[in-house]
């Protein structure tokens, strides 16, 4: 990671990538993924890593799928990866997206975490051509919805990285 400035999806003229009003993420009631969401608020990307055998895994789980250890910890990932797959939704399936138009979703394989993948939006022109294998980097998008009972949260988005 190269610091907050370059890794922050600024809320400049374009604002958040998707219109506000989609369901906001909240840590699971069993506490499993709380470290991830807390770190995201600090613009750090965490992923699970087994403290016994070193295997990274995602989504979060209580046990390491390689060695069955319960000692699954969290490590900070570099935030660099490549596009593994993508889609461009056009049809709005939620009222918040009624005037959104097409948007891009990418599945990103992290460079330094045993190939685990994360889902996010690809920042920039929603109609751009997307190339599987293209390098990307994480960009943190802060949200503070003015909705009762909804805490501020940060989404991890992706932008194309230089070669």
């Amino acid at each position: 990671m190269t610091g907050d400035q370059t890794n922050t999806a600024t809320s400049g003229p374009s604002g958040p990538y998707l219109a506000e009003g989609l369901p906001a993420p909240r840590p699971a009631s069993d506490g499993l993924d709380e470290p991830y969401w807390s770190a995201a608020r600090e613009h750090r990307l965490l992923v699970q890593r087994c403290e016994t055998c070193g295997t990274h895994q995602w989504g979060p789980e209580w046990m390491c799928h390689t060695c069955q250890s319960f000692e699954v910890g969290w490590v900070e990932a570099s935030g660099r990866g490549t596009i593994y797959s993508w889609q461009r939704p056009h049809h709005p399936v939620h009222p918040a997206l009624r005037d959104q138009g097409p948007y891009l979703v990418v599945l990103v394989e992290l460079d330094d975490a045993d190939g685990v993948r994360m889902v996010g939006n690809l920042l920039g022109d929603p109609l751009q051509e997307v190339v599987i294998g293209a390098p990307v980097e994480a960009a943190f998008e802060d949200h503070a919805p003015d909705v009762d009972g909804v805490e501020p949260y940060t989404l991890v988005q992706w932008r194309l990285a230089a070669g």
Partner: protein, 394 residues
Amino acid sequence: MSEHTIRGEVAVVGIGETTYYKRGQSPDPEFKLVLRAILAAAADAGIPVPTIDGFCSYSNDRNMPARLANALGLPELRYSVMQWGSGGGGAAAAIGNACAAVVAGYAECVVAYRGLAQGQFGRFGAGARVPTISGPPAFTVPYGVMSPAQMYAMRTTRLFHEHGISPDTLKAVALAAYHHAQANPRAVMHGRPLDEATYDESRWITEPFRLYDCCLENDGAAAVIVMSAERARDVTDAPVYPLAVQQGGEYRSGATVHNQPDYATSSFKTTAPRLYAQAGVTPGDVDVVQSYENFTGAVVMSLIEHGLCTYESANEVLTADNLIAPSGGLPLNTSGGNLAECYMHGLGLQIEAIRQIRGTSTNQVPGARVALANAGPMVEVASTALYGSEEALG
């Protein structure tokens, strides 16, 4: 052929379906639809309703066996089994669970069923209207990945990338389904043909899926009754034999946030070989195929993973002409399937496979002896059944 098998031990004696409605248009509530389908299946079998003593369903069906047994006035309920989760992935598995009960002697006459009334209970295709979300969906929904099409589109993108599969294969699957629906008066899309230009000009739901690549959403119910092969011969002239049913998932098929190690898969790579081994048949013996279309891309993966074509041959084999009964080499989804007959969570596809063995399809493959019907491709736990005629038992 495996030593332990249901092959020859159990038979489908009855099939029943309600009228199939567009989503939200059923005049009946869901539970009543299920009762209607069960009565229709019993009538088809020619058995008195009180013969039924067991129930199997899937996908968290809301219509509980105890309530069904009570409503139907059954003298005894001996077996009530739910296939866990995974959307329509349990359609074949529910029939497999019914067969297992009969073979094991837990019950003698078991119904596999599914009912859907989305007007009463809400839609599959709409995103959740909630202020917050937690657990695995928290890592996808806030990015606009909410509907089933959005959950599965990226597997198809990856299929194209890894194997050079053409998007034209998706179009072929859609055209074949709509072609077959035109001869099927039960089909919701009966009288509404689809041509290539209309497909090409149809709107994107989410690239790479167009409107016609996505299943319908419907109201209705369907039911299948199984009994021992011995008793089946007493009650029907047209027993159809489930040769094998397999269910399951590959290594970490249940990984969340799109982290299945093998991503561009319909989840049949481990179950299909076991299926054929248990049935004692090979892909070359399959005369007609019903392949669950949540989305057309999944059908392409499913056909490959069931050995009915290969990654290399798919672009040549999967053309509309070749998928149409009776002239095509690989007749596919001969009722119109989930795309054009009805989305009854895949149970309609199982019934169509049974109909093909009976010789009563509206798009009959002449002399069909072995039919394959799979369920729920790309989900965590998928399932497939092979059905055969008396002749196929050999």
